[in-house]
Symmetry: C2
């Protein structure tokens, strides 16, 4: 791929597009200033020319400049994310259109909590949500079933919380309706006309989201038909039966046959999932970790066994989380297996679960799979231009996204947007109705009935956060308009970085061969995307502990540390750990075999501290910078990096 | 107060400081670009001059400009927050130093989740936290007891969640330690050397935060002394006993004598508190609303009664929330009474609770109460320059902040910072240890022991969010350096707006007199800060319903609506509702009396829809714009607004 394509997309690691940035920003900054002057131009400016000559004014401006000078000086110790020599965490240069849109919009400072404070950018946020939903294959056409909805969050962590918050709210709803029916002697029915009274707790706890939405619609319609007074009374009665009102303790006390719910994540899941379980009061012990296979992907057979275990214990499965691009390894869970397993379990065991995909990292890779008409491209078409990507499993995972219930994706990661910009996308926007929280001052008798359809311009009613910057919405909105989320446009960017990763993978093998007798280098996990790790073992060593100590010494050279000026670094990387407890025996043995380690040195519980360790310390590279394969220096940045590593390794081995 | 003081602080409603903004931004933008070029200057720029002449490059730049042009055009329908004619929600112009710092820092795009991704701005964030803590009177000197800590959030809503999340984590800790002790046959002790085994559940659930911190220190030290292997085993056993691990259900199942916890808020509290209870799984019914007095402040006598009720039901009081500047009325709860009631209840009833102050709105007003050495100013000194502010109750509320446990404050409200910037400030930073969540890849045998003191540079381990923009931290940091948070500097700004509110209050009375025979105007609640409401009743009317319909018609003129271009508005305001159920009979009767309403028309439950209503619809004004009392046009903006209102009212009355 010709990476010169990306020339107009970024400010540039050399600030190449500095004039373009300046010109455009200044133009729209001035436009903003003149906009300020257009609102009642007859008003005299509160700040007069003469005041600007006062000593107080001049001193304050001097103080402002001085403080900003100090800030600018301090910021020079920032991490140079925009440079291809930075290959550490999930950060890079930013898309110029998004960056400029964010800056321009910040001047207007809209607050996307409601359209009243952001008449322009709330619409943009909903449109960003729609485009992301389309990229995942979710439906937007009301004639074709459930309509998707998405919005921005401050980051992926909050989007992850939101999935469990909404899922819980939907999951326990049928029990509340049933109980309300019992108390008021009303027969509520589900979408198929079945009476809820006749359904068991297990049945009611194992309905799909769309089925629960239908129960809510039926219930609200029934109450509406009962007249104003009865309606008010029963809506209140229903509200009082919900888990949100009761809290876990009293709700479970009322439903004695309920057991603690379970949430499944792969062993590789981000730590925000443990936090989510704690914050939501469900408890981290009810987060069941599913073992991963040799490619560090969730093992569907293991998931099935655990689901059966949950059923045998009469436990509700609140959610199964699949990860599309794990934080540590970039690996892609078999989403299609999670989806088909739901069909199977639902049919055979009456066990239904909601599916959330944590695609904070990998979500934007979906653009590679979409054509200009937003259709899923054929596997063969996607494969062209790559050596390995996407494997059948990875292809199927992306193809199955449309059948999941919600997705986390971070514009501030592979969307190349500024921090903090995450997103939560739901397949069925009517999930909103279960969590709606109106502000205290709203009272409007004309719209007294609760409508199943959410009023999305009142964004704050359906999300975890309150006030939020409209500038982030404008950034993604403009970036998506300039570079639509399909293979022909935006997709070329992540595609290029995946191709870079494939090349890097081969170069690791070549370097290992070159260093034969000195060190062994392997990519411990075959990369599914554009994240790749590197394990390094000095020749002749069989101890995991010694390998770890050696690799830590290598890492010292590419590590950010206070004692070394940032700019004296050749490259900046990151590290991670492959814990023995998170991989099976076969995978562990295989890793040891490839590296020349004694499998007895790589253990779950350390007994011999000098020899053993419970994790493998590896270098971790996020290859998202657009210029990694640039060869204007006669050699690509990847090659420069590997040459540098070679130098370090040789020096350390020869010490 | 001479408002010309504020001339250098803002971009200005006329963009008066446009050249200053341009000059400074450009200077530091260029500095940033040259910084990019200083990291390995020997590397050739990835984007070559020749590529910039390609048709693809030119077309993409044209597309970028075109999309930004559309954005800029759309943004012209934004709400003109910076103009003194905007007196609606909590938004205004932004402090120029903060705005510039945010823009400059955004170019570097630091991620404050950890120092590794933000070596500069994490420090700034902690410093912002420290300065806010000092403004509230919290201690920062380790020699003088518990040390405070604060950090930024995406907004006040998340900061509110964080308080309950941390409180729960601390509150239930002693029970976990006790149980761990029982299981492992170890005698853990509290700070006074009392054995936890000998303490009842009630006693353990009614310790102060500092006492629980001491229990944790004692416990960790005891485990550390037992040697590595035992330590690992027991730390794990302890972890398993915590409510975070067990979830509410199993934890309560293990502690049969525990009842559902209660959280107290005033009836005026923000709706995020209900959301918090739902999200955390505690349940909204366990949020007990404390009635307010005639000034719309939490009634301490009512709180006491409810606390006694909680005790009689053997309920744990997790928190009492005081609001410092309610969202709807700007009123200030009696924080000092909440504090002294805790002493009393603790002494007399053995009932202890944590105190959180939701100062999202009013927090920055604390600056008015602090002198240049950060000492609390005398009441008389603060009063000078005001007519009413601060009343003894309001003064005492601010003085008592130092004795609370944590505080929410929003830089993006009265801190005049861009959205989204909230903050959570804790009196005792060791609360962090109870919620710490390390990322999955951390394993470091050298630092194997859990230390009671948090490592604050790893910010992401102690907060709800993950990745977050360092730019917001730099904004507050620079703004605070230019305008320190005391009465001599930053404080002059909120002081001026409070004085404006006092003048406005008198003008309402004058206008009401002028309109005698046509309409009655009153401020239904005496303003505690710079938020003021206005109730309008056409002469001769005694029906609340008619008043509401009339005021809604007035509001139509100052309301943002899609059908009217924003710039054709004379003024832009907001509204709120005073619900009958939230005020007592005396207050309701008094309101009706002043307005000339029949008290039977202002009811909890509407029976006669044409006559009665359950809430009073009032105009709501946030007077935070620095230029409201500017009189360069011969008349202040306040006067212009009131003249405009007069015109509307007269026209409506005469229709």
């Amino acid at each position: 791929m010709d990476i010169s394509l990306f020339s107009p997309y970024f400010l540039g690691s050399y600030g190449e597009n500095n004039h373009e940035f300046e010109d455009i920003f200044l133009e729209f900054f001035r436009d903003h200033v003149y906009w300020r002057r257009s609102f009642h131009p007859e008003d005299l400016p509160p700040v007069s020319i003469i005041e600007k000559q006062s000593s107080h004014y001049l001193e304050t401006m001097a103080k402002t400049k001085q403080e900003l000078h100090k800030l600018s000086a301090d910021l020079k110790q920032s991490v140079p994310f925009s440079n291809p020599r930075y290959i550490g965490h999930m950060a890079s240069d930013l898309l110029l259109p998004g960056m400029l849109a964010q800056f321009i919009t910040a001047l207007y400072n809209p607050n996307n909590v409601t359209e009243e404070a952001a008449p322009v950018t709330v619409k943009m946020e909903l449109e960003v949500g729609n485009k992301l939903a389309e990229m995942f294959g979710y439906n937007l056409d009301a004639d074709k079933g459930a309509v998707a909805w998405g919005h921005l969050t401050s980051g992926g962590t909050v989007a992850n919380y939101q999935s469990l918050w909404m899922f819980r709210s939907v999951k326990y709803y049928p029990l509340a309706v049933k109980r309300c029916g019992e108390l008021a002697d009303i027969d509520f029915v589900d979408g198929q006309g079945r009476s809820l009274q006749g359904m068991s707790t297990w049945e009611l706890m194992n309905l799909s989201i769309d089925e629960v939405v239908q129960i809510r619609v039926n219930c609200l319609n029934k109450l509406k038909a009962m007249g104003d007074e009865k309606y008010d009374e029963l809506i209140e009665l229903l509200r009082e039966q919900r888990i949100e009102h009761q809290g876990h303790i009293d709700f479970f006390d009322q439903h004695k046959d309920l057991k603690q719910p379970v949430v499944f994540v792969p062993a590789t899941a981000h730590y925000s999932w443990i936090k989510a379980m704690k914050i939501l009061g469900i408890g981290s012990k009810n987060l069941w970790q599913v073992p991963t296979d040799e490619k560090m992907r969730l093992d569907p057979m293991a998931l099935k066994q655990l689901l059966l275990k949950a059923k045998s214990e009469n436990r509700t499965v609140l959610a199964v989380i699949g990860v599309l691009g794990t934080t540590e390894f970039g690996t892609v869970d078999p989403i299609s297996d999670i989806v088909s397993l739901r069909d199977e379990m639902s049919r055979d065991e009456g066990l239904n679960y909601y599916i959330h995909v944590d695609a904070a990292w990998g979500g934007y890779l979906s653009s590679v799979f979409r054509d200009e008409n937003n259709r899923m491209r054929e596997h063969e078409a996607v494969k062209a231009g790559f050596e390995y990507f996407p494997s059948a499993k990875v292809y199927n995972a992306f193809a199955a996204l449309c059948e999941t219930d919600s997705i986390t994706v971070d514009p501030h990661k592979l969307g190349y947007m500024p921090f903090g910009s995450g997103a939560f996308i739901a397949r069925n926007k009517n999930m909103c109705g279960f969590v709606v929280q109106e502000a205290a001052y709203v009272f409007d008798k004309k719209n007294r009935f609760v409508e199943p359809e959410p009023k999305l311009n009142q964004l704050g009613q359906y999300i975890m956060e309150g006030s939020k910057p409209g500038a982030a919405a404008a950034a993604s909105y403009v970036a998506q308009n300039v570079l639509p989320l399909n293979a022909e446009h935006f997709g070329k960017l992540p595609a290029s970085t995946i191709r870079t990763t494939e090349v890097f993978y081969h170069k690791i093998a070549a370097l290992s061969e070159k260093l034969a007798g000195k060190a062994t280098l392997i990519a411990p996990i075959e990369p599914d995307t554009n994240l790749i790790c590197l394990a390094i073992n000095p020749a002749g060593n069989s101890s995991t502990r010694v390998l770890n100590d050696f690799t830590r010494k290598v890492f010292e050279h590419i590590k950010i540390e206070k004692s070394t000026p940032m700019f004296s670094k050749e490259f900046i990387g990151s590290y991670t750990s492959i814990f023995r407890k998170n991989i099976n025996d076969k995978v562990a043995h295989n890793l040891c075999f490839k590296l020349g380690l004694d499998p007895h040195s790589f253990v779950r519980d350390v007994e011999q501290v000098e020899f053993q360790d419970n994790a493998l310390f590896v270098l971790r590279h996020t290859l998202m910078n657009p210029w990694l394969s640039d060869d204007k220096n006669g050699v690509t940045y990847m090659d420069m990096y590997l040459n540098y590593l070679e130098e370090i390794i040789v020096k350390l081995v020869e010490q």
